[in-house]
């Protein structure tokens, strides 16, 4: 499966490496040129650019991608990237990272998000399960 990972931070990098090891065709999109070349040196396909701009997604192969992971450190960027991915390229599966739990309510169909992942919510639910009487 062809997968785009928008945001080459720690999470995006690990996801890309893991998916690549599983045999998927993964491309990382990273805004910072320094970070992009560092990732490229790890042997991962990398496109430098703003993933919320349609031309960048297209250069990364969005027309043939089945899935996109929006995992930058900014929730608003993740929403815009998801929106462009869904609206312009009809990418089948769009998964977005929620950095701040208070923004979780925004992550839905109106921004093209199929699934939102909130580490904070996941952690809290673990604690709540453990501490339930």
């Amino acid at each position: 499966m062809r997968i785009l990972v928008a945001g080459g931070g720690s999470l995006g990098l690990q996801a890309a490496q893991r998916l690549g090891a599983d045999g998927h065709d993964v491309t990382i999109i990273e805004l910072s040129s320094a970070r992009a070349s560092a990732i490229r040196q790890l042997g991962l396909a990398t496109v430098r650019g703003d993933a919320a701009v349609a031309a960048t997604l297209e250069a990364a192969g969005a027309l043939r991608a089945q899935a996109l992971i929006a995992c930058t450190a900014s929730d608003e960027e993740n929403l815009l990237i998801s929106f462009v991915a869904k609206r312009h390229f009809a990418i089948h599966r769009v998964v977005a990272l929620v950095n701040r739990a208070e923004n979780a309510w925004l992550f839905g169909e109106s921004w093209g998000v199929d699934a939102a992942v909130s580490p904070t919510a996941a952690l809290l639910s673990m604690i709540e399960q453990e501490s339930s009487p």
């Binding site: 919320a52 349609a54 608003e76 960027e77 815009l80 462009v84 309510w105 925004l106």
Partner: protein
């Protein structure tokens, strides 16, 4: 009018202060608590410390009853997400957003959100001022019905006669500066690119003169 302003920076605080003076009910949202220091002493509007995308804070700001939402934070993406949420989720009738990055303009127009103050607008304006000196009146006469403006003649008007620029009752070329000398032209005088020309213009015709001098003016 009840207005919510996201971002209490230079623009947000100045707009808030002006609207409040004019009697509007203003609520500001800013994640930086010290941003409230930019508001004038005695400001009667509300300042809420927090993000413009937090549902709790937006509802605390009574967004359901707001008549306008203006996104002026320093982040383009925060502005567009908040502006669209205000319009589509809370049905705020008038929504404007600041946009810095011209590359993001297509998303704004796709979402139908009006933008202000973009880098592109500033570039166009400065470009215009450099080429046409802005056509600000140097003198006004009477109660401002007529004015004197001066402008360089652009290349594409070189070779035209003065009479072609004169419009009866609206625009009159009264002086031409060329190579350090000034003269009073006749209708048959021929303009050269780079001439610095004085016009008497009726105030309502300034736009028409601008369109003569700058075909890109909009």
């Amino acid at each position: 009018m009840q207005v919510i302003i996201m971002g209490c920076g230079r623009s947000g605080s100045a707009l808030a202060s002006r609207l409040e003076t004019e009697g509007d009910v203003v609520t500001l949202l800013d994640p930086d608590e010290s941003a409230a220091d930019r508001l004038p002493v005695g400001f009667k509007g509300r300042f809420i410390h927090g993000s413009g995308t937090s549902r709790t804070l937006l509802e605390d700001a009574d967004i359901a009853h707001a008549e306008a939402f203006v996104a002026l934070s320093p982040s383009d993406s925060a502005n567009i997400v908040a502006a669209r949420t205000a319009r589509d989720h809370y049905r705020v009738p008038r929504v404007f957003s600041r946009l810095f990055d011209p590359a993001r303009a297509p998303i704004y127009s796709e979402l139908g959100i009006a933008t202000v103050g973009s880098v592109q607008t500033n570039v166009n304006r400065v470009h215009h001022l450099l080429h046409h000196r802005g056509l600000e009146p140097e003198l006004t006469f009477g109660n401002g019905e007529t004015m004197l403006v001066r402008s360089f003649i652009p290349d594409y008007l070189g070779g035209r006669r003065v009479a072609e620029l004169n419009v009866a009752g609206e625009i009159q070329v009264v002086e031409i500066g060329r190579a350090g000398h000034s003269s009073v032209p006749e209708g048959t005088s021929v303009l050269q690119p780079g001439d610095f020309v004085s016009f008497i213009v009726a105030s309502g015709s300034l736009g028409r003169l601008r369109s003569f001098l700058d075909r890109t003016w909009s």
